[in-house]
Symmetry: C2
Subunit: 386 residues, 2 copies
C-alpha cells in the first residue's frame, strides 16, 4: 500500500484521500497551522509531527503552494517530494511564475516587477492603463490586488501597495507584479497531469466564472479543438521544463482565439473539481497516480459537467438532490464569510440539459450566497440553446 503525505490539510487533501482509498493508498495530511500529521477526513486523528510523517510515507505532495520553504526543503531532502519544491515555490511567487512563462516562451500579459517606487514608476512608463497590480506572494482569490484605471489614482495606489509591501511578514521579500489589464473574452483553465515516466494527460479546457474575485462556477462542455491543442502545448512546455510530476493547473485569459497564461497552480485545482463526475478519472486520482508512478487515467469529457462552489454557506436545501446528476461535495468546515465550504457538480447528457439543470439548481439556492448564479445559468442556457 502506497503511503502518501500531503502538505496541507484542507479540502484538496480531503478529496485526495477519498480518491486514494479505493486505490489502496493511505493518505495523511500535514496541517501547517498545528504542525500535526492528521487524517485528511477526520483530523481529530493525529499521527505525530512532520518528521515522523516524512519517515512513514512513500511519497510527499502538496495541496497548496504557500508552504513554508524550510518545510519544502525538509521534504525534498527525503527524495519523496512530488512535484519538486522548485515547482511548488513557482506557484507561490508570481515573480518566479512570470520568469518561467518567459523562459518557456509562453504568451502572457505584458508585465513589470515592482519592489520599490522606482520600479513602480518604470511600470507606469512601460505599461498602459488600466493596470492590475498583484502581490507576488500569497495573492489569490482577489486578495492583494489593486486596479489602476486613471492617472489620478496613481499616488493612492502606490501608498496602498507600499504599505502592503512594508507589512509583509514572509521570510521571502514581498513584491508586486504590474500587469497590463487584458480585455479578455473569458477565463479558461487547463488541468493536466504528468507522471514520473513523463507521460502527460490533460483534461478539456474549463470555462471559469468568478464572483467577487472567487471562482464560483466552472463548466466543461463544448471543446474548441484549436484552443485545446494550444493549451495542451503550453501545458507540455511548462510541465517538461519543470520536470513536473503531479497535477498542474494553468489559468488562461482567452482573447479572441489566443490564450494568455494568467497563472499556474502546482496542484489539484478548484476548476478541476468537475472531473469527479465528468471524466473517467478525476484530478485527485490522476494526481495520486502521477506521483505514485502509475499510468494516468482517462481525461476526456464523458458528458457536459459543471461545478458550482459553495462559498460562506452551509445551509443548502435538500431539494437540490431532486435534480438528476447533482453530486454534493462538502468539506466539513466551519462556516466563515468567503470560505469555500463545498461544491456541487452536475452533468447533462447534452449541453442544453446541463444548462437546464444549472438553471433549476440556481432557483433552489439562495441569492445571498449565490448572487449571480441565476444570471450565469440563464446566459449559459441562452448560449447553448441557440
Amino acid at each position: 500500500m502506497k503511503k502518501v503525505l500531503v502538505l496541507g490539510a484542507g479540502q484538496l487533501a480531503r478529496m485526495m484521500d477519498l480518491a486514494g482509498a479505493p486505490l489502496g493508498m493511505d493518505i495523511k495530511a500535514f496541517d501547517v497551522r498545528t504542525n500535526n500529521v492528521v487524517h485528511p477526513v477526520d483530523p481529530e486523528h493525529i499521527y505525530g509531527d512532520l518528521k515522523n510523517g516524512i519517515k512513514q510515507c512513500d511519497v510527499i505532495t502538496a495541496e497548496f503552494e504557500h508552504v513554508a520553504h524550510n518545510t519544502l526543503e525538509e521534504c525534498e531532502a527525503s527524495g519523496k517530494l512530488f512535484p519538486s519544491s522548485n515547482a511548488i515555490k513557482i506557484g507561490g511567487d508570481r515573480r518566479l511564475e512570470k520568469s518561467l512563462l518567459e523562459s518557456c516562451n509562453v504568451a502572457n500579459a505584458k508585465h513589470y516587477i515592482i519592489e520599490n517606487k522606482n520600479d513602480f514608476d518604470q511600470a507606469l512608463k512601460q505599461l498602459e492603463l488600466p493596470i492590475i497590480f498583484k502581490s507576488a506572494l500569497e495573492g489569490y482569490d482577489g486578495k492583494g490586488q489593486w486596479r489602476l484605471k486613471s492617472a489620478d489614482q496613481v499616488e493612492k495606489t502606490w501608498l496602498d501597495m507600499a504599505n502592503f509591501i512594508a507589512d509583509a511578514t514572509s521570510s521571502v521579500p514581498q513584491g508586486i507584479i504590474a500587469e497590463q489589464m487584458v480585455p479578455f473574452d473569458r477565463e479558461v483553465s487547463l488541468v493536466g497531469a504528468r507522471n514520473t515516466l513523463g507521460e502527460i494527460a490533460v483534461y478539456p479546457l474549463t470555462e471559469n466564472h468568478h464572483t467577487n474575485g472567487i471562482l464560483s462556477v466552472s463548466v466543461a462542455s463544448s471543446i474548441n479543438e484549436k484552443l485545446q491543442a494550444n493549451a495542451a502545448e503550453v501545458f507540455k512546455k511548462m510541465a517538461e521544463k519543470l520536470n513536473y510530476v503531479g497535477v498542474l493547473a494553468i489559468e488562461f485569459f482567452q482573447v479572441g482565439e489566443q490564450l494568455l497564461v494568467n497563472e499556474i497552480a502546482p496542484r489539484v485545482h478548484n476548476s478541476g473539481h468537475w472531473t469527479q463526475q465528468g471524466a473517467d478519472t478525476c484530478q485527485f486520482e490522476n494526481h495520486l497516480r502521477a506521483i505514485c508512478g502509475l499510468p494516468l487515467g482517462g481525461t476526456h469529457l464523458i458528458r457536459p459537467t459543471a461545478m458550482v462552489n459553495i462559498i460562506g454557506e452551509d445551509d443548502i436545501s435538500n431539494e437540490i438532490y431532486t435534480i438528476p446528476s447533482v453530486s454534493m461535495h462538502w468539506y466539513d468546515k466551519e462556516k466563515r464569510v468567503g470560505r469555500k465550504m463545498g461544491h456541487i457538480n452536475l452533468s447533462g447528457s447534452t449541453e442544453v440539459e446541463l444548462a437546464q439543470r444549472l438553471v433549476h439548481l440556481s432557483t433552489l439556492l439562495n441569492k445571498e450566497s449565490f448572487p449571480d448564479l441565476s444570471e450565469f445559468a440563464k446566459s449559459y442556457f441562452a448560449k447553448v440553446s441557440q
Copy 2:
C-alpha cells in the same frame, strides 16, 4: 451532519463511508467480531461499544443480513434502524424470504421447506429432479448448498444435510429449502432504493456471471424494457410490502422472458458496484440518501459498465491502469482464498468498446485468480459485436 452507524465493518460499510463523506455524513461501523464501533476505512480507530454507537448516531443501517437478532432488536428499539429488523432478518433466512415472495405473489422457483426427514421425503415427492437444497441461514456464495441430480444420491444428500442441520450453532433453528432447479438462461439482478418518503428508484438490470459459486462479473449494458419493467414491479411490490427503507437487491433467474426471484439482499449489493462508475448516483450514496430522508439520486445507466471481482488475490498488474475508464476499488483486506479483496469497474461509450476493454483487461489479469474472465469477455464481445 448526519451520523450513521453501519452494522458490519466490511467493504460495504467502507464504500458507504467513502460515498457519505462528500455528503457531509459521518459514518461509523460496528464490527460484529470485536463488538467495537470503528472507522469504516481505518478500523484501528475505535469509538466505543454498540450501546455508545447507537446513542451517538442519527441513523443505523446494516451492511449484511446475518446480524445477531439481539443486536438488531437493540438497534430497532432506538427507533433509528433502516431498513427494519424484519427486512434484515428476511434477507438472512430463506424460509422468511420464500414466505415474503409468496405473500407478494412474486414468481419464484417451486420449493419446499425442510426441517426433518419427513419434510425431505415430501420435498422429493413434490419436486422433480434435479433439486437444489440451500441452507435457510448463512448460506451464500456457494456455501451450504447441495445438488441432487439422480435418485441414487438421495441417501447421501440427506445424511449430509442432516449433519449440517445438527451442527448448526445459530440461536435460530437451521433449516433447508429444497428448490426445483431452474434451467435458467442467465442470472440478473435489480438494485434499487426506497427512501423514508416511499419514493423508489431502481437501477438497470445487471447480468451476473459466477465462478465457483461466487459472483465474478456483473455487466450493466443493454436494457430489455419489458424485463426491466417486470423487475421494477417486483421491486415495488416487495419494498412496499416491507415498508422498506434503503437499498434492496433482488437476484433473478431469467427463463426466456420470465423472471423468477432467486433471492433478495436487504442491503447494498456486489452486483451494484458498477453504479460507482456507471450511474449518476452510486448505490452507496442512494442507500445513505434513502435512510437519511433525502431524495434519491439518478439511477439510469450513463454508459455500459462492468464490474470484475478480485477474489483471493492482492497482486494486480499496474498495467491495468492503462485501460481507459478502469477504476480500482481495493477493500484493504488481508489476502485469503476465496475472499473478496476488491473490484475493478470499467466502462465504454458503447457495448462494443466496453467488451473490447473487458477482453483487454482479461489479458492483464492472471488465469489462476480470474479463471474464466477471458472466456466470459470473449463471449460478451461476440454477443455485442454481432
